[in-house]
Symmetry: C2
Subunit: 192 residues, 2 copies
DNA sequence: TTGATTTCTTAACCTAGATCAAGGGTACAA
DNA sequence: TTGTACCCTTGATCTAGGTTAAGAAATCAA
């Protein structure tokens, strides 16, 4: 079987064992969608209704400050999750945008449907516990390197990870994600 | 009943319903310890063996860079959790210190005992899922404000939270936590 | 009570990265 | 195929916060 939905099961099974029945329940809970490049899935003031698993393409989330400058805080490729968890779990208005950077396909699940899924397949509680734990560890590492490493070190770390995101999205997005201006990133790249 | 252990149950019950039996299982899984000010619970190269719930006092976690400068990335008061999750969950050597800032009492649980507890009381899986979810949201907010707000704004936000940590620990710790030098914090405080 | 350590403040100077401005390249829409 | 928007680069200048240094104040151990 080779439906795109199965990638989701593959990634969940890296962390918890699933029966055939579990897998079926999970797939039934998610709804597939397809979006063109630069489609907004969330805008400020809206409540974030879904958590998304990206099956192909790439997404970013960002906010726009008082001066009108965009600040990207998440860049995600296929086989990872994206949402505004703060808005999703509180079901209160978001401060952020979520937008596709390429034509993309996603699986989405709503707040109520997710709570149902936790009841149906309690292992999902464990899966998301592990997912958030890793996400939290990651966010702290990013915080540490933002506070204490130079912009150049942060960029070189990203290059070392050899993530093809560097080839797939504009440098201005990478710069914003690293917390610097496009001009600074251009100067850093020139050096090497 | 008024044993200090019960604060733990109180805080867990804010997020999941516990039976008497659940509460008993949880309390049985944790071991109380008491430490003097400036006691190290973890040092670099050691594996972080426990997750700690602080029942009284305060803790910090930090690392020391090549130049010998301390960088604090967590400051925690009573009724919150502290650990190095990266080391704890991988059971690999840590890069961080965990140290008490005041005389403190804590409840600790080991990796194996926690896995047993998840099996005994599956609701704990849900509790930690919610805890890490909130911690992750928080870490992203801190990352955003470190990237995009001035040092003064970050300090003022901390003052607004009205957290008594500002009174209880040296300013040099607050400065490091905010990602600035003690000199800069002193200048910021002088302004107002 | 007293020296020793730690913490906080202030001042002079420095630097990484921001800001402002302008030109060239590239990609897609018509 | 051309024009329009976006993207990247480069240079000149500016600034928040770092660095270095030194003294004052507070805290602590004996």
């Amino acid at each position: 079987m080779n439906f795109p939905e199965h990638k989701l099961i593959y990634y969940i099974q890296k962390w918890v064992d699933l029966s055939e029945a579990d897998a079926a329940s999970i797939l039934a809970a998610f709804e597939p969608i397809a979006v063109k490049k630069k489609t907004q899935l969330l805008a400020p003031q809206e409540v974030c209704r879904y958590v998304y698993f990206i099956t192909s393409g790439s997404m970013r989330s960002y906010h726009i400050d008082q001066k009108g400058t965009e600040h990207i805080y998440q860049l995600r490729l296929e086989n990872s999750w994206i949402s505004d968890l703060e808005s999703f779990f509180s079901q209160k208005p978001s401060k952020y945008y979520i937008e596709s950077m390429e034509d993309s396909t996603l699986l989405r699940i709503s707040f109520d449907r997710l709570e149902m899924l936790y009841a149906e397949v309690p292992k999902m509680e464990r899966y998301f516990r592990i997912l958030f734990q890793k996400a939290y560890i990651n966010a702290l590492q990013r915080l540490n390197s933002t506070m204490w490493d130079s912009a150049e070190e942060r960029y070189q770390d990203m290059v070392k990870e050899n993530c093809d995101i560097l080839q797939r999205v504009p440098q201005t997005y990478i710069a914003s994600y690293l917390g610097i201006t496009p001009e600074s990133l251009s100067r850093i790249r020139k050096k090497k």
